[in-house]
Structures are given as structure tokens and as C-alpha cells.
């Protein structure tokens, strides 16, 4: 058994190597990122809000439009790339992270985005998702979670609550659901966040942090499907309920919520996890201060477990984890650069030398 100490590439922004607009270039607007294709989601679909938010947000990056690529899988949300006037590929079911991995590794000068859904990312493509996250390839994954299969017309998904009655589960689903944030943290993702389709401000701020992150950023977006799972996220959207339903995660701040900010998260000494307590009873000084930069994902995972697995009444929202570790693609390119710096001669000369290695003999 042999291991070598890898050189860690310099930490930098997720988009540091992507060409930016020059001074003479026109300022971009959302319109510049809008393609000529008619958007064909159902009226009222949460995807519209996310599309608008992304189109509105992309100009903030100041990148050359031709260096932005959106790759998607299959499902309603995966039509996303067609509506953005960037480079894009609408690929096959579940495989977008693998395609994006090849693209991001081959090209350091691109800002690579993956658009996927709960079925695409967590069911058929679950394997690619966890491996992209553990490798930490420089890309941002937008996981639209509507907790249902929309494009195939209403079967339960891997995030649907147990007992859910759908077309394929007339007497209730017996599948235990995934919590996408827990899955991502379990795979040691370096950036994990959750946001909501209808909260454009929060969504945009999370997108900005995700784009700046070097490595795989997973952003779960709660997204309403008005046709097959309407109201799944009403608790986190309703004016009367959201204060109690949303546990807001802000790095460096105590995690408190409720209309009067009367609730907070504290350590649970019994389970080793975290639990909700009344601030008045435990004292603000004992409330957990959110540390998204903690290299150990344990606390972030514990917080993720406060998401309801059944019908959603309560969910932590925000950036769970944001840590720096070397990315696969930077390291792969560094290994190649090191090898290339060590040789001289034209590729043709070196190929000739390669073909002539080993025991050779000459016939005159």
C-alpha cells in the first residue's frame, strides 16, 4: 500500500478561472440570459420563480455568458437549460452530475451548473450525486425538490412522505423518504444549502454563495408542484406559519425562530443531536450559534434531521455547511500540469519516444 501527499491547490472562488466581462462590454441584464424558447411549465409551477431568480441573478456574476453551462437530467425542472441563453445540455435521467464532472474537469474556464429534481438526483441518479459531492467537483447543483414525480404525472418520489397516496401508491407509499440535505452531508459535501422557490431574495443570496464556492455546491430548492403535490411547502411559505416552520440558518448567529424568536436550537445531551427548546427556558447563551464553516459535518447533519420527514411543518433553511477542501478537477488538472512541466519536446517527438520504449529491435 502506497499513498502520496497530494499538493493542495490554492483555494479560490468557484468562478475565479472563468473569464469575466471586460470594461467595454455591455452590462448584462436578465434579458441577456433569456433564450428565444417558449417556457412550457404548468401555470403556477414553482420552476418559473426559480428561472426568473436565476436569470436575474446571473448578471451579478459578471461572467462572459458563453462560459456558463447548464446541464440537466430528466424531469420538469430539467427543461431549465432550454430557457437560458447560455451553453446547455438537457441530458438523460440522473446522469447530469457525471456529464458535468467530465465537462468541469476538462474545462477550468467554465461556470458549470446542474439542474435536477428529487427523482432525477436522488432516485435514478443517486449514485452520481453522492460521488460528485464526495469528489467535490467545481459545480453548483440546483436540486428542485417538489416531493413528487411531475413529468410522469404524479407518482411518489424518493422525498415523498410515507403514507402518501399517489397514482402508483393508491393505499399509501411505504417508501421511507430521503432528506436531500442529510444525504449530501453524509456524502461530505463541502457546500449544502436549502432555500425556497418563492423567496427570491433568499434564493438569490444562496445562489451567490454557491457560485462563489469552489467545489460541489448542493442547493435544495423547495419547489411547489401545483398539479400533483400542491401545497407541500405551504408551512414554510404561509405568512401565518412560516415563522414557526422555518429554522433560519445564518453563519455566526444563534439559531432562533418563531414569531417572537422564542424558540432556539440547543444540544441534546441524550441523543448527541440538536433539539428545539424555548429560549426563555434555556437562556440565549445556550442556544447553538450556527457555524457553517465547521470542518466536522456532525452538527450540520444533526440540524438537518429537524426537517419533517412526513408532511412538512418545520424545516431548517439556509446554508448548512460551507467548507473549503480541494476540488477533484483542480487536482486532476494540477497533476497534468505537473507532468507537462516535467517534459520537453513537441507532442510528436514525445509520442515517438513513447512508442519506442521498452525492448526494441531494428531490421535493416
Amino acid at each position: 500500500m502506497t499513498t502520496v501527499d497530494l499538493e493542495n491547490p490554492a483555494f479560490r472562488s468557484g468562478i475565479e478561472l472563468v473569464p469575466t466581462l471586460s470594461e467595454g462590454d455591455q452590462t448584462q441584464t436578465g434579458k441577456d440570459f433569456t433564450s428565444d424558447q417558449e417556457v412550457r411549465w404548468c401555470p403556477g409551477c414553482g420552476d418559473y420563480a426559480v428561472l426568473k431568480a436565476v436569470q436575474g441573478f446571473l448578471p451579478e456574476l459578471g461572467l462572459k455568458r458563453e462560459n456558463i453551462v447548464f446541464v440537466s437530467g430528466i424531469g420538469c425542472s430539467s427543461r431549465f437549460p432550454y430557457y437560458l441563453d447560455t451553453y446547455g445540455m438537457h441530458s438523460i435521467h440522473g446522469r447530469a452530475p457525471s456529464i458535468a464532472t467530465g465537462l468541469a474537469t476538462a474545462r477550468e474556464d467554465l461556470s458549470v451548473w446542474v439542474v435536477t429534481g428529487d427523482g432525477d438526483a436522488l432516485s435514478i441518479g443517486g449514485n452520481h450525486l453522492i460521488h460528485a459531492l464526495r469528489r467535490n467537483v467545481n459545480m453548483t447543483i440546483l436540486l428542485f425538490n417538489n416531493r413528487i414525480y411531475g413529468l410522469t404525472k404524479g407518482q411518489y418520489s424518493p422525498t415523498s412522505e410515507a403514507g402518501k397516496v399517489t397514482k402508483s401508491t393508491p393505499v399509501g407509499s411505504i417508501d421511507h423518504p430521503f432528506n436531500p440535505v442529510s444525504v449530501a452531508l453524509g456524502a461530505e459535501a463541502s457546500f449544502v444549502a436549502r432555500t425556497v422557490d418563492s423567496d427570491r431574495k433568499h434564493l438569490s443570496s444562496v445562489l451567490a454563495a454557491a457560485a462563489a464556492h469552489r467545489g460541489t455546491a448542493l442547493v435544495e430548492i423547495y419547489q411547489n408542484c401545483p398539479i400533483f403535490n400542491d401545497g407541500a411547502f405551504d408551512a414554510v411559505k404561509g405568512p401565518d406559519t412560516k415563522a414557526d416552520a422555518i429554522i433560519p440558518l445564518v453563519h455566526g448567529e444563534p439559531i432562533v425562530f418563531g414569531a417572537e424568536r422564542q424558540k432556539g436550537l440547543i444540544r441534546d445531551s441524550v441523543t448527541g443531536g440538536v433539539k428545539v427548546a424555548l429560549v426563555a427556558e434555556v437562556g440565549l447563551e445556550n442556544v447553538l450559534v450556527h457555524d457553517a464553516h465547521n470542518p466536522d459535518p456532525t452538527t450540520a447533519f444533526a440540524i438537518s434531521r429537524l426537517t419533517d420527514a412526513g408532511v412538512l411543518h418545520q424545516s431548517p433553511i439556509g446554508i448548512f455547511r460551507q467548507v473549503q477542501r480541494p476540488t477533484y478537477d483542480d487536482q486532476a488538472r494540477d497533476q497534468i500540469a505537473t507532468a507537462q512541466n516535467a517534459v520537453t519536446g513537441s507532442p510528436e517527438e514525445r509520442l515517438t519516444a513513447l512508442l519506442n520504449t521498452g525492448d526494441t529491435w531494428t531490421v535493416a
Binding site: T86, R95, S98, G102, I336, V343, D359
Partner: protein, 640 residues
């Protein structure tokens, strides 16, 4: 003692032992020595799928066959002239393949009651030598205590008996190297390098090798030394090369000649993994190797890299192709260059991982949903894997299409002398990336516009200003490339994709028909690794005075344009394949020709002597003559 030296024109030796006995290494070294000596040669490694199958058992036997000659040869030989058996199981497992009169050199050390029982021997066959019930009576048997002599020879190095006895393969190699007058420098150099960090092991191996040689020279047991002179070869520099190595070099060469960085996305699988291993060493050529989480991610990442302007490659064997099918379809629809290498093995399912077969031709041709044509290229010898890889890359890049490269286990692990090509003679491959400069003033970019000659679409890679566009698996509108569900458009695009692949035939040279007399009525046509056995079979029939023609296909899709006329100009067409008739089916379907199959699926190359009989039978039928092939082939299948 001066020994008699006997001239031979060709010899087939099989080294056989336990999986852990180092038989592959022994065979490989003997091959290198023979290659450096200048013989023509072909090799056939044969080993179990288990890394260390139970010791001393028949399933654990690993063997390496090498055929070397003073003339041009085509196969690794149907049967060995010499068997080196390191234990009872190796003797028993290989005995059935030996012709009468063959030589057996056997290590007596392992012929214990226990090991005899493991191999299924009730009595020790070596004890009955010369008796009335001698099972080995029809062979020339040399029982030698290889292990004992090895242990004695290396006792000064302080190794345990177990470690010392591990050098017995080098003792055997030394003995055989003496017997056939092989040069020894390359093996000694190899051992010194390989075991540089463990001097006692290094010295033990070198000593065992030299002692084996000296034993041959001094013992009275071996009275004859053989000489197989170098084979005449055309001028040039040569090396010995295996198919997987040649294929990997071909991919590096394709990168150099196209100026594209090679990106390999691959998941380990027998017998293709060596290509991944080899390419991972060539980062200085800008080659990226990505060991993916599964077969699908392997091809997915390659497609992503191709989309980004790299030469995307994925390597696998049949089961992996089954998993990659949907993604290959995506590359058909998005019309991106992609190389898919299938090193075929015995199937179906897990099948025979370490054995060879050609049963994935129809999978390559049709193994996707929808009308999804994919060009198919097949190498015919280990060294030819290099050219086939460059050719597959040329097609992929020029026509913006996935290309299937069908190698197989025999080519992958087999080896032969290879005339090293001059890099300048290799074809240049032009990626011809699209740019805004290609567009007229005010013209908008059409990602599915067509090149008139090739019908290829433009390859516009991200980062190209003004050519932003979206592609995907949904049906594309002709020209503009947006999603289209229009019936007429789908009909048009389906036919365009098919026509594009057919256009490749415009770039193919005419087939080489090997019909020396011009009077043959029977044509033998094959593809892939059957080239050698077919060639040897055809030679035998000609040697007996009969006419037969041979054609071998490199391109299986599209077929070369002149194939139909060639097939129709012969009365009988024989198609030998290591499957149940897949090329036959394609030829029958496309050309309405009454192709006759010769089909063998034993996990091993076709035996040329058996094939010669089949060719003879067909010649007899076609010409109304009696074909007698006796005396034209010897027992090893090559013509005398």
C-alpha cells in the same frame, strides 16, 4: 558437453502452473526474448477470473502460450509442441491439448499425494513412466525437480523455502531459454529493475534464471538444443506489443494528431482495465483519466468532456456497454464525438470475464433504443489495435458521432512484434471547431446545420462567444436544433442521422481481397481477432493446391462500399466467428448472400486446423472436387 543443435522453423510452447506461480510473467519474458531475437510470434495468455483460485486445483491453472517462428505466422498455435507444467493440475488441465509426440517438462516437486488428489489423480502419472499403463506414453516427458533445484541454487540469500521456491518460474524460464537459444540480457535487466528494492529477491530470481540455463547446458537429460532462426521482416524498428497497450497508445496518438486533450472516463472491468492503467501514466500528453463510480458515469463524463472540446473516450467490456447504452444514444442525438471501446469477453451476463469472444457485434450495432446508428471499427491483431484506435478517433471527430471500437480478450492480452509507426505517417485529425467567424453577417448560429460532404454538424464548444446553444436528448429541429415534436422533422432527422453514418463509407479505402489465383469460388470473410486463424486456415487450403479468397473487415458499420459486389462474385461465402453468426446475419440481411457460418464459442481463438477443414469442405462443394488437407497442416494448425 557439446550438444546437438537441431533446426526448427517454428515452436509452440505453453507454460502452465498455478495462478500464483508467475506463468504470465514467465511467458511474457520468453516472448520478449524471442521478439528481441527476431522471431515472428503470437501469444495466447489464458488465466482464471479468480485472482488466487484455490492452490493446486484445475480451476486455478494459469497458462501462457507462445508461438515463435522463422517466418511470418498468424496465430498463437492450435496446440503446443512443448508443455511446461509446474504442478499436477497444470499437467492434467493441459494434457488434452497436446498432440502425440509433444514434449512435457514437468516440475516433480508438487507431485505429492495431496496435490495429486487436488488435481484428481488417483496415482502419480510420473511413477508409471515407461510402464504398460503409462498415461504419458505418447509424449516425451522430462520430470525435473525445478523447485528443489531452485531452492538449492538460491540458498545463500537467506530466503524462506517458500520465498526461495517462488523463483522456480525463473528456473524454468532459464531452462527453456537455453533450450531454444534465447538471448538472456533483457530478462536479467528486467529482473534487476523489477526487484531493485529487494536485493535478496532480485538476486534469487537472477540466480534461478541463470541456474536453469546452466542446468540445461550441463544435464544429460536434455541432449538437444533447438534453433529457430529470426524471421525475415520489412525494414523498421520493432517491439513486442499487446493489444491493450497498442490501443492505449493509439488513443494517445489520436490526441496528439487531433490536438485534442484525451479524456478517459472509465470503470474498471476485465479485460479492459489495462487501457485505463496505461492512459493514467500519460498525463504529460494532456490525457485525463477519470475512474468513475460506475459504467454510466464513465461514458457520461466522457460525453461531458467531448461537449467541452476534448476527445471523450470510455473503455469497457460487454456488460459495461449494456449499461452505457442510453448515454451512447445521447451522444448519437447530440452528435458529439465519443470513442466507446469494448474489449469483448465471453457472455452473456458476467459470462467468462477472462476469455475471448466476438458476441457483442449485434449489441454494438443495435444495442440502443430507437434508430441509433453507431459506426463500428474492429482491430485484427494486437498491434493493429493502435491503428484501429486512431481510425475510430478520426471517424468520431470528423463525423461528430460515437464510434464503437470492438477489440476482444484475445487481442487485448495477446501480443506480437509490432513495427513502430512513424508519427508523421499517422493521419491528421481536424476538430474544426465552429466559431463566430463561420457565420455570415446577421446569420444566427445553426447547431444542426450540415456539412455537405460529411453531413456532420458544427462542434461549437462552450466558451465560443456568439454560438451559445442548447442540445439534449429530445428530438432536434433540423438546422436550428431546438426541441421539435414535428412528425416530418423526426422522419427527416432520423434519416439524416442514418445517412451521416453511411457517408463514412465515402472515406474508406477499397477492401483488400486476397485471392492470389483469381479463380477462387469460395470467399472467407471475417472481422476482428479471427484474422490470424482465418489466414492460417486459408494458407493450409492453398498449400494443398486449392483456391480460396479471403477478406477481413475493419469497418462493420458502415460496410465498405465494394463489399456487396465482392460477396456476389463468389459462389460460397464462409464467415468464421467466435459467436453464433452475428456478422453472417448482417451480411445476409444487407446483401441477401447465402453466408455460411463457422461458429465457435469456447472462450478461445478458433483453431485454424478445424477451420481449414471447414473451408476445404466448402471448396469441395463449390468446385465438385475432393479436398484432402492431410499433410498440409501439422498438429498445431499452421501450414508446414
Amino acid at each position: 558437453m557439446a550438444k546437438q543443435v537441431k533446426q526448427l522453423d517454428r515452436v509452440v510452447i505453453r507454460f502452465a502452473g498455478d495462478s500464483g506461480d508467475g506463468m504470465q510473467l514467465t511467458g511474457d519474458r520468453f516472448t520478449q526474448e524471442s521478439a528481441v531475437f527476431g522471431n515472428d510470434l503470437m501469444t495466447l495468455p489464458n488465466f482464471p477470473a479468480e485472482i488466487r483460485a484455490p492452490q493446486g486445483t484445475i480451476p486455478g491453472v494459469s497458462s501462457f502460450q507462445v508461438h515463435f517462428a522463422d517466418h511470418d505466422i498468424l496465430t498463437a498455435g492450435d496446440a503446443p509442441d512443448v508443455l511446461v507444467a509446474m504442478n499436477p493440475a497444470a499437467l492434467k488441465a493441459n494434457l488434452g491439448d497436446l498432440p502425440k509426440g509433444a514434449t512435457i517438462i514437468v516440475d516433480t516437486a508438487d507431485f505429492t499425494t495431496r496435490n495429486l488428489a487436488k488435481a484428481g489423480y488417483e496415482t502419480n502419472p510420473l511413477e508409471a513412466l515407461g510402464d504398460a499403463n503409462d498415461q504419458l506414453g505418447s509424449f516425451q516427458v522430462f520430470p525435473v525437480d525445478l523447485t528443489g533445484m531452485t531452492v538449492a541454487a538460491v540458498k545463500d540469500y537467506g530466503l524462506s523455502r517458500k520465498d526461495a521456491s517462488r523463483a522456480k518460474n525463473m528456473f524454468a524460464l532459464g531452462l527453456l531459454s537455453w533450450m531454444y537459444g534465447r538471448p538472456t540480457d533483457s530478462t536479467i535487466g528486467f529482473l534487476e529493475k523489477r526487484f531493485a528494492k529487494v536485493p535478496d529477491i532480485r538476486d534469487a530470481n537472477v540466480t534461478a534464471f541463470k541456474t536453469g540455463w546452466n542446468f540445461g547446458e550441463t544435464t544429460e537429460a536434455f541432449a538437444v538444443q533447438y534453433e529457430v532462426k529470426p524471421a525475415p521482416a520489412s525494414a523498421g524498428t520493432y517491439r513486442n506489443i499487446s493489444g491493450n497497450l497498442a490501443l492505449a497508445y493509439g488513443l494517445v496518438a489520436a490526441g496528439v494528431r487531433s490536438g485534442l486533450p484525451v479524456f478517459l472516463g472509465s470503470y474498471p472491468i476485465t479485460p479492459a482495465s489495462d487501457i485505463l492503467h496505461e492512459l493514467s501514466k500519460h498525463k504529460s500528453f494532456g490525457v485525463t483519466t477519470f475512474q468513475a463510480e460506475d459504467e454510466i458515469a464513465g461514458v457520461g463524463s466522457a460525453i461531458g468532456a467531448s461537449y467541452g472540446g476534448a476527445l471523450g473516450v470510455t473503455t469497457t467490456s460487454g456488460p459495461g456497454i449494456a449499461l452505457k447504452g442510453e448515454a451512447i444514444g445521447l451522444a448519437v442525438m447530440t452528435e458529439l464525438p465519443l470513442l466507446v471501446v469494448n474489449v469483448q469477453r465471453g457472455g452473456p451476463s458476467t459470462g467468462l470475464p477472462t476469455k475471448t469472444e466476438q458476441a457483442d457485434l449485434l449489441q454494438a450495432m443495435f444495442g440502443r433504443n430507437g434508430e441509433a446508428p453507431v459506426p463500428i471499427v474492429a482491430p485484427q491483431t494486437p498491434g493493429d489495435c493502435f491503428n484501429a484506435a486512431v481510425e475510430a478517433a478520426r471517424i468520431a471527430v470528423t463525423y461528430r458521432t460515437p464510434v464503437m471500437l470492438l477489440s476482444d480478450g484475445y487481442l487485448a492480452n495477446g501480443s506480437e512484434p509490432w513495427q513502430i509507426p512513424h508519427v508523421d505517417d499517422l493521419p491528421k485529425i481536424d476538430p474544426a471547431f465552429a466559431s463566430i467567424a463561420d457565420l455570415a453577417e446577421g446569420e444566427s448560429f445553426q447547431p444542426y446545420a450540415r456539412d455537405e460532404a460529411t453531413l456532420a454538424r458544427p462542434w461549437a464548444i462552450p466558451g465560443t462567444a456568439g454560438l451559445e446553444h442548447r442540445i439534449g436528448g429530445l428530438e432536434k429541429g433540423d438546422g436550428h436544433g431546438n426541441i421539435s415534436y414535428d412528425p416530418a422533422n423526426h422522419e427527416k432527422m432520423t434519416r439524416l442521422r442514418a445517412a451521416k453514418i453511411e457517408r463514412i463509407a465515402d472515406s474508406l479505402p477499397p477492401l483488400e481481397v486476397d485471392d492470389p489465383s483469381g479463380n477462387a469460388k469460395v470467399l472467407v470473410i471475417g472481422w476482428g481477432s479471427t484474422y490470424g486463424p482465418i489466414g492460417a486456415g486459408v494458407r493450409s487450403v492453398r498449400k494443398a493446391g486449392f483456391n480460396v479468397a479471403q477478406v477481413h473487415l475493419r469497418h462493420l458499420n458502415p460496410f465498405p462500399k465494394d463489399l456487396g459486389d465482392i460477396l456476389k462474385s463468389y459462389d460460397k461465402v464462409l464467415v468464421p466467428e467466435m459467436n453464433l453468426g452475428q456478422l453472417s446475419m448482417l451480411l445476409r440481411a444487407k446483401y441477401l448472400v447465402d453466408a455460411v457460418g463457422f461458429n465457435v464459442v469456447r472462450g478461445l481463438p478458433i483453431k485454424s486446423a478445424e477451420l481449414a477443414e471447414a473451408i476445404g469442405a466448402l471448396v469441395s462443394e463449390a468446385e465438385g472436387v475432393t479436398v484432402d488437407l492431410s499433410n498440409t497442416t501439422d498438429l498445431t494448425g499452421e501450414e508446414l
